[in-house]
């Protein structure tokens, strides 16, 4: 009972924020001359959560749903990466860079290697974790050893990864037609593309299984383990953690390493799962959106699943929304922005709610 209440308390504010923003965005959609209900329904249809009027060959609601899952898998990892660092009091802005580094390394080492699927897929995941972890550890080490602010070092590393890797791609690995890196082998892809199932062709994302496992592991880490206790203590108060005998520097390096590993997984599930190639000179937004997604999910691993699904639903369904409801895709970004804005205001909303409750108690008393 008590536990239920606790969950409800944690969930109700984000829910309220989402509801408010859907109403606000609905008004905007209505102002552009479209029907907001149709637009929202189209978002669901586009993500395979509601049936479309008609489907092409080999397509159905199920294919849409799978492609939606394939689309949001990297975001779960990225948001977890942000959350792990935040719990230990660090701000990992470099998730995008770490994703790119991990994705590129795995592409070059495994994606072009011709290894069989059984060896290649686990290897891709392993490389993603190792490279991402190393990139995170570097940031943690710089912070611990030289007291370099992790925000600065991650931003700088983002640039370094972005330009060094695009140089390498353009010099050695570019596909002259697509002007992206050469596509990786199907054996190394973490998403089984166009898999024949009955009369459908489905993209089956294997990464989602790893992502769900990661969610559970991160939850166990913070709720059940000694290391999690230490990381949280460091996140809340470095001085008190030190007083308790916790090795603060080690904790900072460790939390950035774990965060980097998760970012690396985001990288391989994106570049070797969803995409299959890397576009040079482009740093994904995923790593930055992940900060907001993590906050919307209250930095809770399970909350992150839902916030990821919501935010991804809006961007994934936006194409279909344009074609059926006649709402521009840009509106999708507006809705996302409004949701994040509202959820950022959640502290204020909570305060207002409490205040109103106490006022209500007051008036109820006076009425009597």
């Amino acid at each position: 009972m008590k536990n239920k209440n606790k969950i409800w308390n944690a969930v109700k504010i984000p829910l309220l924020a989402i509801l408010c923003s859907l109403v606000a965005a609905g008004v905007i959609i209505a102002l552009t001359g479209s029907n907001p209900f149709r637009a929202y329904y189209a978002l669901l249809q586009g993500s395979g959560l509601a049936p479309k009027a008609a489907y092409a060959n080999y397509k159905s609601m199920l294919t849409d749903l799978f492609s939606y899952v394939n689309y949001f898998t990297p975001m779960i990892f990225a948001a977890l990466a942000v959350a792990v660092a935040l719990r230990a009091g660090l701000f990992n802005i470099g998730v995008s860079g770490q994703m790119l580094a991990a994705g590129f390394t795995a592409t070059v080492l495994v994606g072009y290697s011709g290894l069989g699927a059984v060896a290649a897929k686990p290897l891709v995941i392993l490389i993603g974790m190792v490279v991402g972890g190393l990139a995170g550890a570097l940031v943690g080490f710089l912070k611990y050893r030289f007291n370099i602010n992790e925000v600065v070092s991650t931003i700088m590393l983002n640039y370094i990864f972005q330009y060094v890797i695009s140089f390498l791609i353009n010099t050695y690995f570019v596909d002259p037609v697509s002007r992206q890196s050469v596509e990786v082998s199907a054996a190394s892809r973490l998403t089984l593309m166009d898999t024949q199932a009955g009369n459908l062709k489905i993209d089956i994302p294997l990464g989602i299984l790893v992502a769900l496992a990661a969610v559970v592991l991160v939850w166990i880490l913070f709720d059940k383990t000694k290391l999690g206790y230490e990381l949280k203590a460091v996140g809340f108060s470095r001085s008190a953690a030190r007083y308790a005998g916790i090795r603060v520097g080690r904790c900072m390096v460790l939390s950035m390493t774990i965060s980097g590993m998760l970012a690396g997984l985001a990288g391989v599930t994106y570049y070797l799962g969803y995409m299959g190639s890397i576009q040079p000179k482009v740093l994904l937004n995923t790593g930055f959106d992940a900060i907001a997604v993590s906050l919307l999910g209250s930095n809770n691993p399970f909350g992150i699943i839902f916030s990821t699904m919501l935010i991804s639903l809006i961007s994934k369904g936006s194409t279909y929304m344009r074609s059926t409801a006649g709402v521009d895709t840009e509106i999708a970004s507006v809705i996302t922005g409004i949701i994040l804005l509202f959820s950022a205001c959640s502290a204020y909303i909570r305060h207002r709610l409490e205040r109103r409750r106490s006022e209500k108690a007051q008036t109820a008393k006076e009425d009597r």
Partner: protein, 585 residues
């Protein structure tokens, strides 16, 4: 009724999640009196005054100011109603001058070229100077806040209220941060304010202050108003018993000490702070089993650094720390804990607890990594719960939601009880108590002293560091006095009088030639320390007031009143503040 009250709070009730902070409290305050609010930590004094100052709204009840019912919505609104408050933690901009801080928000304005408004700082300075002289507050308007000591900063806070024409002045634990001499001076200022017709509400848990200056006193216990007393007709013992809700003893009972073998042996310890300033100079001492060794000293003379160095929080430049025959000078903090050091730190909110952890998590902060809390890296929630339930029960830790309460939401006294309980439960051979009772009320102080002495009787070695001479004289078996990083004297407690300890604290080496100057400040100290015995106190404070009054008449000597009053203490305090600021970097 007939009688006119300037402030009336009728049937006030205020609830916070899990706790009723004020339960149907009614207080009526007359114009021009000093009205004290007495109660233990968490009794609801500060909450009550926060409502009067517009920071909270009461859930039930009404507030009347000068007979008119008002709903005070914000501190600004309270200010318009001529209510002012000096908070326990000052709210000053540290790199602004005194005058700038005081006039901030209602600066005198002049027009440059007849149209561009700018702050008229000259007028501000002269206004503040005049105001300061009127009330005998002795501040220099052009001093920068970070360069003046705590007691002067407090006077700036008082001036801030007066500048806003406050008639009702609320002081929240004003003496908690002051030395005995500064307390004397402050109490005289408060009396002076009453003579100028101000109404004063004093939140405190120090009985002797109430006895010295208050007219009436309301006693709160666990949110309820227990009684309103006429201070002149009530003994401190009665007040204390009402406040705690049971009999309290002022003197701590203890058996004669029975020393065992040496537990802690510190030799030639030298410690430098981050600014490369030597804060501990060649300090050597030993603590035995069954001994309470107390280090007495004015704040900032290196005593906290000694404790930090022993606990491993501060690096040692040279010297040796030996615990139970084992050299631990280079050991890590965790190793020292495991080898047997309990440490109750001075700064409980930044070090003693993780404020955003729950109570049960905090109660295992020193042993979470051991069985039964942790097996193979996995934590056992039930062990946390059980440990927490046991300690809450044993040490009477009060909180809104038991084990699951976030410590930040608990009162300071209960946070301290949690730390003390946790550290005692470690059952370490050496226990370091730094300022264990700071900010606590009599009931809690008595409790902690009893526990400390019980641990001593169990054969633990205890190092007590305190700024309260009373505490040291009451508890210690051996007294070491520190001044400017050096130990001045180590002697058994029976062989030193309070006066002598005080002299060593001031760095005056007990010589006939200096007796005349030192003697005076000592008398003041004595009065502040030893509660309400009476006569000597009254005489002394009269003299003090005169001194303060006199020096303010001449502008040039405005600063002097402080010097005269605080004598040797001032230099030391100033320095202490400086070091402390550095240490925090």
């Amino acid at each position: 009724m007939g009688e006119e009250y300037i402030v009336e709070m009728r049937h006030i009730t205020k609830r916070f999640p899990g706790i009723v902070a004020n339960d149907d409290v009614t207080i009526q305050i007359r114009k021009g009196e000093i009205y004290a609010l007495l109660g233990e930590n968490g009794a609801g004094k500060s909450t009550l005054m926060s409502m009067l100052f517009g920071m909270y709204e009461p859930d039930e009840g009404e507030i009347l100011i000068r007979g008119e019912k008002v709903k005070i919505e914000s501190p600004n609104h309270a200010t318009r109603l001529n209510i002012g408050m000096v908070h326990q933690h000052f709210k000053l901009v540290s790199n602004y001058t005194v005058a700038e801080n005081i006039v901030m928000g209602m600066e005198p304005v002049k027009k440059v070229l007849g149209c561009i408004p700018v702050v008229d700082i000259k007028k501000a300075n002269s206004d503040i100077r005049a105001l300061s002289e009127k009330y005998g507050l002795a501040v220099n308007p052009t001093d920068v806040i970070e360069n003046i000591n705590v007691s002067t900063q407090q006077r700036v806070e008082i001036l801030k209220m007066l500048y806003r024409e406050a008639e009702i002045l609320i002081f929240d634990e004003p003496t908690a941060v002051l030395t005995p001499q500064e307390i004397d001076f402050l109490l005289e200022i408060i009396k002076g304010l009453r003579e100028k017709g101000k109404t004063i509400i004093l939140i405190t848990h120090k009985l002797e202050e109430i006895k010295r200056i208050a007219d009436r006193c309301a006693i709160l216990n666990r949110g309820k108003l227990i009684d309103v007393l006429d201070v002149a007709e009530t003994s401190t013992r009665v007040m204390a018993n009402l406040m705690v809700g049971r009999e309290v003893s002022f003197e701590t009972e203890k058996k004669p000490a029975d020393f065992g073998k040496v537990v802690l042996d510190v030799s030639n310890l030298n410690v430098f702070n981050k600014q490369e300033f030597q804060v501990v100079k060649n300090v050597s001492f030993q603590v035995h089993e069954g001994e309470i060794l107390a280090i007495a000293g004015v704040a900032g003379n290196g005593q906290v650094e000694i404790a930090d160095a022993i606990a491993g929080l501060m690096p040692v430049r040279s010297g040796k720390i030996v615990l139970n025959g084992e050299d631990i000078t280079g050991a890590s903090i965790r190793e020292r804990t495991l080898k047997g050091i309990s440490y109750i730190p001075e700064d409980r909110q930044n070090y003693g607890v993780v404020m955003d952890f729950t109570l049960s998590e905090n109660l295992a902060l020193k042993n979470y990594f051991k069985e039964p809390f942790c097996r193979k890296g996995m934590l056992d929630n039930r062990a946390f719960e059980e440990n927490s339930r046991r300690l809450i029960e044993k040490y009477d830790i009060r909180s809104g939601q038991g084990s699951g309460t976030v410590v930040r939401s608990m009162s300071g006294g209960n946070q301290q009880k949690a730390i003390v309980g946790r550290e005692i439960e470690l059952a370490s051979p050496l226990m370091i108590f730094v300022q264990p009772t700071r900010g606590l009320d009599i009931g809690a102080i008595e409790n902690i002293h009893r526990q400390m002495i019980a641990e001593r009787d169990r054969g633990r070695a205890i190092l007590l560091i305190s700024l309260e001479l009373d505490e040291i004289m009451n508890c210690a078996d051996t007294i070491a006095v520190i001044y400017n990083g050096e130990l001045q004297k180590i002697a058994s407690a029976g062989s030193l009088t309070t006066n002598q300890v005080g002299e060593f604290m001031m760095g005056v080496r007990q010589k006939e030639t200096e007796k005349s100057t030192a003697g005076k400040s000592e008398a003041g100290k004595e009065a502040a320390g030893k509660s309400a015995t009476g006569k000597g106190t009254a005489g002394k404070s009269e003299a003090g007031k005169e001194a303060a009054g006199r020096s303010v008449t001449g502008k040039g000597t405005a600063g002097k009143s402080e010097t005269g009053k605080e004598a040797a203490g001032k230099k030391v305090t100033g320095k202490g503040a400086e070091e402390k600021g550095g240490g925090e970097e």
